[in-house]
């Protein structure tokens, strides 16, 4: 044991030793230069080919889910029982009953924190922070992490976009951005709900009544007439448009494009395992897209008011805005609209089906399914949110925004399974571990896992150098 280990929990010591073993370093203090070298070593070990981000927007209550606090004062304690999991030292609440079975694949990071002032009260800013990996408000609007990845690493499947957002609701549309990158790297949002049997992705099928055969005939005619302006004359843009036309034709006619989005090709057993509702089918579609070669998938599955449960249409009355922003009546068994309520109306209680019920089922199904298919080997899965919720229950029986401590969960791409990183005090308010990680660290982790060299800047159109996750460092316990 060296000196640094005295300040670390046993888990952190493990993580750090693994880190050092892998990187071949066993030095006393870490100087900045050594950290740079360490990061470079980590990069060589980067194993993710694809990333799946489950963005549960609104601020999921960590103390009701991944960071249970059975010893909190009664009046503020979560009503959901603490349960143990197959992993020693990892307890979760009963809302994660099914997920507890897959904990041997997970690292639960309980020491996430978001110290940037001014962002804690804003969902748009917080969401943008999570999507871009950098606190908004700086001189340059950062692109989504997914847009950066798509621009740097392209796609494994040319007939599919490199960065897909499922389904991507309008609130996030305002903060999801390719920033200074080319618009071609904008997140491709499918819209709608894959649980709807009539759901299709706009722009991915041929427009009204033009069958593949006629389309191919048209392309032939076009090719024979497209001789007036040859690439030799117009140079780069003329050539570029030609190859983009070919790629677009491929997207439109390649059966694999449709197949990647076609949930009916999945067995009913698999579909049921994820849950025949909005969230479950979004998670399943995400797995399909990852399997089809999409580089970066973000799931943003806010439950619609009119949705599906067990394959049947259902209306979640009162649930006009079902994200995780439980300012009011967080433990309601139906909607959260209460008399004299505040900003927390329009949701359903955290323990209900459209909230943790569907999340627990979908998440556990996703992890075990991806593990069975070998997808966890090279896919980094991240379950993220903007912040946590207050340890104290407010006068409207809700919990407000809480940025000092919250939980992210990771799996796949070399993330150790059955690991807990960090800890919070007995009410879940403040981090007690020496380790604490920010959303910038999360972004740095994603880039490093993908083997993206953060020491090389991107450049804005006016040539300002931009470093990726410039304020972050990869979370060592995830390597």
């Amino acid at each position: 044991m060296d000196i640094l280990d005295r300040f670390l929990s046993p888990r952190q010591q493990d993580g750090r030793r693994r880190f050092l073993r892998r990187t071949g370093f066993g030095v006393l203090g870490w100087s900045a230069a050594e950290l740079v070298l360490l990061e470079q070593q980590v990069r060589a070990a980067g194993v993710a080919r694809r990333v799946l981000v489950l963005f549960e927007q609104g601020g999921v209550s960590h103390i009701d889910t991944w960071d249970p606090k059975p010893d909190a004062p009664t009046e503020h304690r979560s009503p959901f029982k603490t349960m143990s999991t197959p992993v020693d030292g990892l307890q979760v609440t009963e809302l994660l009953k099914q997920s507890s079975a897959v904990t041997r694949h997970l690292t639960v990071v309980r020491c996430m924190t978001q110290p940037t002032p001014g962002i804690g009260n804003s969902h748009p800013k917080g969401s943008q922070y999570v999507l871009s990996g950098e606190a908004p408000g700086g001189p340059i609007e950062m692109p989504d992490i997914g847009s950066v990845v798509a621009s740097l690493q392209g796609s494994d499947a040319p007939h599919l976009p490199g960065h897909v957002m499922l389904p991507g609701n309008s609130e996030q549309a305002g903060v999801s951005t390719p920033g200074f990158l080319s618009a071609a790297n904008t997140a491709f949002r499918t819209g709608g709900s894959p649980a709807d049997p009539k759901w299709t992705v706009p722009n991915l099928g041929l427009v009204g009544g033009i069958g593949a055969e006629r389309f191919t005939e048209r392309r032939k005619l076009l090719a024979s007439l497209d001789t007036g302006l040859l690439p030799a004359r117009g140079g780069k843009p003329v050539k570029a448009l030609g190859s983009l036309m070919d790629q677009a034709s491929d997207m439109l006619t390649n059966p694999l494009t449709r197949k990647a989005f076609d949930l009916s090709s999945e067995s009913s057993k698999v579909r049921e395992r994820y849950g025949l509702g909005h969230r479950g089918q979004c998670y399943l579609l995400a797995r399909k897209l990852i399997e089809s070669g999409v580089r970066f998938v973000t799931v943003d599955p806010r439950e619609p008011l009119n949705s599906y449960r067990d394959g049947k249409p259902v209306r979640f009355d009162g649930g006009g805005n079902m994200n995780w922003d439980h300012h009011d009546a967080i433990y309601s068994t139906s909607h959260t609209n209460i008399k004299g309520g505040g900003a927390g109306g329009g949701r359903w209680g955290i323990g209900t089906w459209p909230m943790m019920g569907s999340l627990d089922q979908a998440f556990s199904a996703l992890i075990s399914d991806m593990s069975d298919r070998g997808l966890l080997k090279d896919t980094l899965v991240c379950l993220v949110t903007e912040f946590g919720r207050t340890p104290k229950v407010n006068e409207r029986q809700g919990r407000d925004h809480w940025t000092p401590a919250f939980t992210f969960v990771f799996a796949g791409a070399g993330v150790p399974g059955g690991q807990v990183v960090g800890s919070t005090d007995k009410e879940g308010g403040y981090i007690t571990s020496s380790a604490a990680y920010t959303i910038d660290d999360y972004a740095a982790t994603v880039y490093e896992k993908l083997g993206i060299d953060r020491s090389k800047p991107l450049h804005t159109p006016v040539n300002r150098p931009i470093y990726l996750a410039a304020h972050g460092r990869p979370i060592p316990e995830l390597f």
């Binding site: 230069a33 001189p139 722009n203 048209r218 497209d226 117009g234 843009p237 983009l244 036309m245």
Partner: protein, 805 residues
């Protein structure tokens, strides 16, 4: 006036790889110059560490070439001066003569040395700081980034010496400087890589920079506030030089001037950078070496000052022979002069079909009506192109289309200018175009407008820009061609704009207030404070003695909108030129700075003068340009101009803009797409190019129609995207137009149909092969309507249709 300076990111358009890409060779024997010129004419050295770089030029048939590397230098008294490679260094107090010899010619330069034995410690503000810039330490990608690197933070290119002082002498547990053992200082050990350094090796012990930094530390790392300030730099031998074999080097010398009237050679601490390393490279001693044919700017930075030397490298291109051709006006004369100098042969003049399509799209945004095309093609008179230009310039469509471009820049949206105010400002811009309002009056009216924007539409310009900072940046970008935003927080990294300049310009707009979100009022107080010192800046354009004027904007406009302003006319003619050629003479059009020089400076100057001389008559300039042969060149290139992208030797092939394309589809199918539902404009004019507000439909957005969020023409992206390909192949706009348009065409006989379609789409007849293919397609089909739809669709997806050429 301002020092228009620097740039790091010039588009890669300047170097012209020669067909026979060979390294320049150095012939041994060189001809004798007729005359020798030496800068400076006399040298005064005032301390032991002082020095002076001498630049020697020879005159060859009226042209100057650098001979510094070839000259022999002899000191008349080695006890007074030593000379190494043209660098005069003191050896003791006294007077001496430096003899400069080339062949049989000799020039003598008197030298006086004083203060040799007086102590001259290294000066932190004038030497240490520029050295940190020179070695790259304080660049934006290293310790000069806002958060520094690896815990060590410097101000960007040394704009704030106080930050640097604390960082160097206090932070980092004082380990950065070790006065007792200077070579143990991290400031030296890190860049030498004696200890690990994320930035790699940045210094060698043999570098003069090492010696200076070491000396500064050994002298106690003193940071005394200097009694004088530096006021500027000068580059010898001058702003531009031509390099041609066998003279492929150019020595530069940089002299800084100080507020006490003194000056000092700073070549050894200045930072040199070439914008086009393929054309010329520069070393730390200011020696430029040519690499290949083309033009490059060598930027020189010293403290806040940035200046450039423009280098043109010419070499003989095998097979190049200039073909004399008519040069009806100054435009063709100056374009051709540059082409001849760089040995680029222009393309032929384009066909009538290409011309009518090109000029109609450029001036009106629209494809010509088939009847007009027919008449034009049949017209045999020699001046028909000139008459067509005149005719188009008088059209309403021209005034509308060019108003749209302007409203894009002004960010005219109903969100910013509600309840019809946006339309009123657009209408005012259109009216200004229609009546050909002189551009100086145009600028003055907008920039001094006050009142409710519903009554005074021009007040909408400022209403649409809510903050002082944005007004400063947008006005500079639109009317001065400068991107100022970097200077809001630190001195501009690529040019000479300082924070002081920025806040002095901001002071012009500090009292402009928006009332009720719709009106402009002038406040009685309000200042622009320099963030570092909280000093209230004097407004730009005001003389120090001036009393506070009733409207600060007036003094600014007096400075700006007049003949003789260094940028006003040139920025605007350059914008017009760029709209017509697809590339500015300065490009991008809002990035004027010495490190982004015009590709043809004489041409831009002449256009600017002509614009001023005409009384800022925009239509006159458009007419001149469109009538020039340069504008009428074909886009077909050949071996001797295929690599040219900046000298206007051939037409540039460009994707139609979103609006042009939507209208082209409508005109070709002869069924206009309706405005998109939910269009923000109340104005339902038939053509997208003629509407005052962007409709931002899926189609137009995919093709880069701006949302009017910035004042930058770069908001319109020009690179083709996958989304565009999807819209073309599968989008509703092309699909609907083809389907609806088929009805009109299906009624014609096959032969007429094909000919009419080609006339609409391309302004020409089909070739025999094209006609055959099209007719075969039509007659082979059993479903005539479907066959016509498919033909229309195919024609509208050809690249000849989608591009302007």
């Amino acid at each position: 006036m301002k020092r228009w300076r620097l740039a790091l990111l010039i588009p890669a358009l300047w170097s012209i790889p020669s067909p026979a890409a060979a390294a320049p060779t150095r012939p041994v024997a060189a001809p004798q110059p007729s005359e020798l010129r030496v800068v400076p004419a006399e040298v005064r050295l005032t301390s032991r560490r002082d020095y002076r770089q001498v630049v020697v030029s020879g005159l060859f048939g009226g042209e100057e070439r650098d001979l510094t590397q070839r000259a022999r230098f002899v000191s008349s008294d080695p006890k007074v001066i030593r000379v190494v490679g043209g660098r005069v260094e003191p050896a003791g107090d006294g007077s001496a003569t430096l003899a400069v010899r080339v062949g049989t010619l000799t020039r003598r330069v008197p030298v006086r040395v004083t203060g040799y034995s007086t102590p001259d410690p290294v000066r932190f503000h004038f030497e240490t700081i520029p050295l940190l810039t020179r070695q790259g330490c304080s660049s934006g990608s290293c310790h000069g980034s806002p958060r520094g690197r690896a815990g060590f933070s410097l101000s960007l290119y040394g704009y704030d010496p106080e930050i640097d002082r604390v960082s160097l002498t206090r932070d980092g547990y004082n380990r950065r400087i070790n006065v007792l053992e200077p070579s143990e200082s991290l400031l030296l050990k890190k860049p030498l890589l004696e200890v690990s350094h994320g930035g790699g090796k940045r210094l060698r012990k043999s570098d003069p920079a090492y010696r200076l930094l070491h000396e500064w530390i050994a002298e106690g790392a003193t940071v005394e506030k200097p009694a004088v300030t530096s006021t500027g730099i000068e580059i010898a031998p001058g702003p531009s030089r031509v390099l041609k074999a066998p003279y492929l080097t150019q020595q530069l010398c940089v002299v800084a001037r100080f507020s006490d009237g003194s000056s000092r050679d700073v070549t050894g601490v200045a930072t040199f950078e070439s914008t086009q390393p393929a054309v010329a490279v520069v070393d730390g001693a200011g020696l430029v070496t040519a690499r290949g044919r083309g033009q490059a700017a060598i930027s020189v930075r010293y403290l806040d000052f940035l200046s450039s030397a423009h280098i043109t490298m010419i070499e003989d291109v095998p097979g190049f022979a200039w073909k004399p051709e008519p040069e009806p006006g100054f435009i063709d004369r100056l374009v051709n002069t540059k082409l001849r100098q760089l040995q680029v042969l222009p393309s032929e003049i384009c066909t009538d079909s290409e011309f009518i399509r090109r000029v109609s799209l450029d001036l009106t945004g629209l494809l010509p009506q088939p009847d007009r095309t027919r008449r034009f093609l049949a017209d045999a008179s020699p001046d028909k192109r000139a008459r067509l230009v005149d005719e188009l310039l008088e059209t309403d469509a021209h005034a509308r289309f060019w108003a749209l471009k302007r409203a894009d820049l002004f960010r005219v949206t109903s969100g910013r200018l509600p309840n019809g105010r946006a339309d009123k400002l657009s209408e005012w811009i259109y009216e200004a175009n229609r009546t050909n309002l002189p551009y100086d009056r145009f600028a003055r009216t907008l920039l001094t407008a006050s009142g409710e924007s519903a009554d005074t539409p021009t007040a909408g310009y400022f209403v649409a820009i809510p903050t002082m900072e944005e007004r400063t940046e947008m006005t500079a970008q639109i009317f001065m061609g400068s991107r100022l935003e970097c200077a809001r927080c630190h001195n501009h990294p690529f040019e000479s704009w300082t924070m002081r300049d920025y806040y002095s310009l901001a002071a012009v707009f500090a009292r402009v207030q928006v009332a009720n979100k719709t009106a402009i009022r002038l406040a009685d107080s309000g200042d622009a404070l320099l963030p570092t010192t909280r000093e209230a800046m004097k407004p730009w354009g005001a003389k120090p003695s001036d009393a506070e004027p009733p409207d600060r904007r007036t003094a600014f406009v007096d400075w700006l909108a007049r003949a003789g302003n260094p940028v006003f006319a040139r920025v605007e003619v350059n914008r017009m030129w760029s709209e017509l050629f697809g590339r500015g003479i300065v490009d991008p059009v809002d990035d004027f700075r010495s490190t982004n020089p015009p590709s043809n400076a004489a041409l831009l100057d002449a256009l600017g003068l002509e614009f001023e001389r005409s009384g800022f008559d925009r239509r006159h300039m458009l007419r001149l340009i469109c009538r020039s042969r340069a504008y009428q060149r074909s886009s077909i290139t050949h071996r001797l101009n295929v690599a040219d992208e900046s000298l206007f030797s051939h037409a540039k092939v460009r994707l139609l803009t979103a609006e042009q394309l939507q209208d082209a589809i409508g005109l070709t199918s002869r069924r206009l797409p309706p405005p998109a539902p939910g269009s923000t404009s109340a104005d339902a004019r038939r053509y997208a190019t003629q509407r005052s507000a962007p409709e931002n439909s899926a189609f137009t957005l995919a093709f880069g129609q701006p949302k009017r969020e910035t004042a930058c023409t770069c908001e319109r992206s020009t690179e083709p995207t996958l989304l565009q390909a999807l819209e073309l192949l599968n989008g509703g706009t092309a699909f609907t137009a083809a389907t609806l348009g088929a009805d009109t065409y299906a009624a014609m006989t096959n032969d007429t149909l094909v000919r009419e379609l080609y006339l609409s789409a391309f302004c020409r007849d089909p070739s025999a092969a094209e006609l055959k293919t099209a007719l075969q397609h039509l007659s082979a089909s059993t479903d005539r309507k479907a066959a016509v739809v498919d033909l229309l669709w195919s024609i509208m997806n050809t690249r000849e249709f989608l591009f302007q050429h």
